[in-house]
Symmetry: C2
Subunit: 692 residues, 2 copies
């Protein structure tokens, strides 16, 4: 039994603050619960009245005979602690605190909220809220909420669950969903999340038999790993999760190219984590509901990216093809057999994909459904769209087509058959109940299926969370480039030979050993940004040049940072050719170590052409990371050039990510810039490690 | 009187092919016309029946007493020519040919269609079609269409016009619009566009007093300049044009970076032209209708990009702010006075932008409208959004707020007040009629206003079409780099000194005159791609190097293209520094000469970081072009570097565009790659001119 079961399925509930006025908050909760037909026992708790909305009321929860499973507290904040203590003493298993005025207000409220948490924890009671809009469970008809959305819009039972932090966001979503007839299994608003958060609700809903699709919205996230694990659990349970997170555009635009952290922006990390854990992040409430609708109706995700489109309008077909192509779906060509089969039904059709039936299709008996059958029989497209204009507005004329479509779906149960047409609610409802969704807008139909497919695709490469972290050996000194490189070399990252020399002569000797040309760089823990002080000299061709460079670098460093501790001058071979890339570790405050990869110099900064992944990454994930960066084309026979050693790059990214994960407790960031990928191998030319 | 007036406002119409069967095509047209209540006279033409759907019928249009203004032809293709001749002999001013089976079928159909055009032209008759779904005019209730969409969805009179090429696309749009209650002024489907096309309809609608907003969809465009001029006319008449063009993603992805034409893709050119002419290109039918709705209801476009957001849900506010920021709208900070004014009404509010009223707003009399008043009084935001959850579903509770909103709108008639809430149709209709649009989905509300604002912004810099083109002097030889550069230099484009040398000695002498280092390139009309044959040698440091280079270049050219005509070797100074950009002219088959600008080397190819403009461009437009290319940041003190000479770049783009326009009749393309922008000046280092 999931630990949140008692919150959603109480056998009895005490409403502390129940009111006789059906419009006041405490009255609304009771009214909605009565209207909903809750199957358990309700005990109104009211100091003054013996009868509340027709139910016997009690002055105190302790007066209630027998046990009470759950308390719903809706009295002013000042009285909540006492009420909670009394409820706990009565033996409740869970509590909802709908009252506001705690951590969201001020420090005192925060402390008061913590007291409530402590009381619950000590007594093994689970708490929703405070400042929650409550929850609805359509299974036992339990509703505990004062949302006025219920005044006009009673929820319908269905298979979509909704878990949001913000009650208002939840009401908006629920309201829009209900107006279009979508049904829910459970709806929960977590409010201040003092105990139960959205992540734990997702974890619960992943197990809930009534829930097929999970819609969620987070404003913040206290425990990134808990959210990760909940999303992964839902994905593995085959349940699509559509999760919104507002605040996309806060990403700092002034990020410096070489600073991994500022390139990330917490929001990009949310994107990354959602995708790695199989979830989809819609851009709007309507998009979320569109995807939830197709997933709930079809009961599955498309098995491949291929779609076929049947349309009576060439223009609509092209419009849909545009969207499909934009959003990761593919339109395979119609095979010769498929074409022949179609032309047997519709000799006048444009037998392609999109397939244009032309208006003449209306003259052919069962023309649409027989053509769809031919397309499904002669392709492996997971999805087929049928654009039928406005036929669904004439239920009687559409009846036979509807029957045929239902038979077709029974013949091809694994395929998604998506209608795009104007239709009455009744016509659409019949198709819905047989697994066939209907959209009015062609674009929204395609985008919904594209979202569904993204989740299917992501399930193939879900993130594998690392096990318990063994205590890594201490990092040691990482204060200079040389020290940082040494540490990373020990971790398996590829480095050139290099040496920190203490004199001009030693530098010349070392350079001669390496072979010319060489690079010389100042080595000082007090000068992390060497280029800015002129601390790097490239392409030194002989021993004399190295001697001069040594003296010059020391001089420049002393001039720029007079009291810097100077270790000496780092000498290393000068590398020519290869493709410059950038990789790093960014410690995200919510999700921990994230690995970043970018390529192509200015492209990182100009086009934000970088990608992120949770550490550690597998080789497969590292390859995805490389693929998702546009500039990676530079590695692949660009303009007739060579194929560079991507496998070496993959290994370097993996090693860095493992290192980042192992030392997550002390790291702030790592920047390897550049990591040069060569035709044979790859090598880190510079590295900066920042500790917390 | 516009030349299309007779098509939309016939005083009498003959339906050639009118049928007694109200379900057949010829019967539907008559039925819909009768149901619509057409205010003119209808003459059914039917060979066999004396009475058709209650109207006296005639065997032939020539039998009709008196004059007939328009014929609508709905008989099989074979009889159309004869019917048209008879109608023309009767003195019709316009004709609609709804019959299909002409140019869209085969060459014979095309010829037959041309005959119809010729008949009309000879007699001054305007023709819609053939293969048109007809038109509806809500002013005189004239409808001539067989679209079954009218079976259930009678159009409502309003101020949105719809002009589409595809009848099916038009029906889809009209159907979706009618379901949401949008009203139309005129609806027209141009079909094969043998005479009247969408561009001319836009031109007509720009003058039409009943039309406030024009929705259009094109599949192809025969006359790009006609479309340009029509869009500009609408923009200047203050009428928003929302124009769709399917086929966005056909752009060839294999475009080579240096080939201007393939970088363009005709679709990008449509984007460019629509924007230059003040129109907006929606991505979906729903988006088009959303924007048309706000424009029709508010009657204007927002005067600036600034928006204020009032919300009872922090999360919804952030979501809307995300979309605003993504789509070119701005959220200015609330001023100190504004904040004070708001807090006077709602002491508990988060007085910022978005402004979170918190749920407590319900306890304050007129809290929402007084706060909106404060926000409007203390800011210059052209647009204010009010997110009010689901209040619009309770008409009686919402009545007072509705009244106050209407008063507020009267107080601030120039501002767009946009409601975001769930509402009944009646509640929304009342607000609509007072200029206040309502959206259910917060994201769609923001995107609609963003689209409206884009049109307002574009009106500030509309394209100025060139006047009649004076006959330009002949281009002369452009077969080699040297010849092409000479022609462009004469046109005012900046070039380095250069000389084609006929001997190694001459090359050495020339180089010495220029000063070292120099570049040497093979000069041959038969070797356009010099780099591919090793025909370019850089950084030659002295006379000896130039002599050796000369011989080597000649040897390489002879080896690669044995029978090439070789002019000699081009010698020019070697330039260091500056930013490499690329510019060109692409002759678009629809829209004529387009100027292209890009920057940053690989960015052009990897990120398609290029922009287009119709030639000729003004300096202001050239600056916009530069601004719209991300890599242009490289010109502007990038990473502490210099400010390069953008004014020289602007001038070069203008000169090239003027040259392209002047020689549009002979040019295929021009590629200037690279155009190096220096701290002082700019210079074309290579140029290829391709003639048609």
């Amino acid at each position: 039994m999931h630990t949140l079961h008692s919150l959603f399925f109480p056998g009895s509930v005490a409403l502390i603050g129940a009111s006789s006025d059906p419009e006041r908050i405490g009255g609304r909760v009771l009214r909605f619960m009565l209207e909903g037909g809750y199957q358990g026992t309700i005990y109104p708790i009211n100091k003054g009245e013996a009868l509340v909305q027709g139910l016997k009321a009690y002055k105190n929860i302790t007066d209630v005979p027998g046990t009470v499973d759950q308390a719903v507290i809706i009295i002013p904040a000042a009285g909540v602690e006492t009420a909670l203590r009394e409820a706990v003493s009565k033996g409740i298993k869970s509590v909802q605190i709908l009252t506001a005025g705690f951590a969201e207000i001020d420090e005192a409220g925060k402390q008061q909220q913590q007291k409530l948490v402590d009381i619950c924890r000590e007594n093994g009671v689970r708490m929703l809220g405070p400042n929650s809009l409550g929850l609805l469970n359509l299974s036992n008809k339990f509703s505990a909420t004062f949302s006025t959305a219920l005044n006009g819009l009673r929820p319908v039972k269905g298979h979509i669950a909704l878990a949001t932090q913000s009650g208002a966001f939840g009401s908006a979503t629920y309201g829009m969903a209900s107006l279009r007839g979508l049904g829910f299994s459970k709806i929960v608003a977590t409010g201040n999340e003092a105990d139960v958060d959205v992540a734990e609700c997702i974890d619960y809903l992943a197990e809930d038999a009534e829930t097929k699709v999970i819609c969620a919205a987070v404003e913040s996230c206290k425990d990134g790993n808990r959210l990760r694990l909940a999303l992964l659990k839902a994905a593995k349970a085959g349940k699509p999760v559509l999760i919104m997170k507002a605040g996309r555009t806060e990403v700092g635009a002034t990020a410096a190219a070489t600073h991994t952290g500022s390139l990330a922006g917490n929001d990009t990390v949310y994107d990354t984590v959602f995708a790695e854990c199989g979830a989809f992040r819609p851009q709007s409430i309507e998009e979320m509901l569109d995807i939830a609708y197709v997933c709930a109706v079809t009961g599955s995700l498309p098995a491949n990216a291929d779609v076929a489109i049947l349309t009576g309008s060439g223009g609509i077909g092209i419009l849909m093809a545009d969207h499909a192509s934009d959003h990761g779906l593919a339109l395979p060509k119609l095979s010769a057999e498929g074409s022949a089969a179609v032309l047997e039904v519709l000799p006048f059709a444009v037998a392609a994909n999109p397939l244009d039936t032309t208006a003449q299709v209306t003259a052919v008996k069962s023309g649409v459904t027989r053509t769809l059958d031919a397309l499904l029989s002669h392709s492996s497209c997971a999805t087929i769209f049928a654009y039928l204009a406005h036929v669904g507005l004439s239920p009687s004329r559409f009846q036979s087509t509807s029957d045929e479509l239902i038979a077709l779906k029974a013949k091809f149960p694994e395929r998604a058959i998506i209608m795009v047409m104007l239709a009455t609610k009744e016509v659409a409802a019949v198709l819905d109940s047989h697994g066939i969704p209907t959209f009015a807008d062609p674009s929204r139909a395609v985008l919904a299926m594209a979202g569904a497919y993204q989740m299917a695709r992501r399930r193939a490469t879900l993130f594998s969370p690392p096990g318990a972290r063994p205590s890594a050996k201490a990092l040691g000194d990482v204060s200079t480039e040389a020290a940082a490189k040494k540490v990373l070399a020990d971790a398996g990252l590829p480095m050139l030979p290099e040496s920190v020399c203490k004199s001009a002569e030693a530098a010349a000797t070392t350079a001669t050993t390496f072979g010319f040309p060489v690079v010389a760089k100042i080595s000082s823990p007090d000068i992390p940004h060497k280029t800015e002080v002129g601390g790097v000299m490239l392409n030194l061709q002989d021993a004399d040049a190295v001697r001069l460079a040594y003296d010059e670098l020391i001089r420049r460093a002393r001039a720029a940072v007079p009291d810097a501790h100077i270790d000496g001058v780092l000498v290393t071979p000068m590398l020519k050719g290869g493709v410059e890339t950038i990789m790093g570790i960014h410690m995200d405050p919510t999700f921990g170590p994230m690995v970043m990869f970018g390529s192509g110099g200015t492209a990182v900064e100009l086009f934000k052409d970088v990608a992120f992944a949770s550490a550690p990454v597998t080789e497969a994930r590292a390859r995805e990371l490389i693929d998702s960066v546009k500039s990676s084309r530079l590695l692949r026979k660009w303009r007739g050039g060579p194929q560079y050693d991507e496998q070496a790059l993959v290994k370097a990214i993996c090693k860095l990510s493992e290192f980042g994960e192992a030392h997550a407790d002390v790291l702030e960031s790592i920047d390897v810039n550049p990591l040069v990928v060569r035709e044979n191998g790859a090598v880190c030319l510079d590295a900066v490690i920042t500790l917390r």
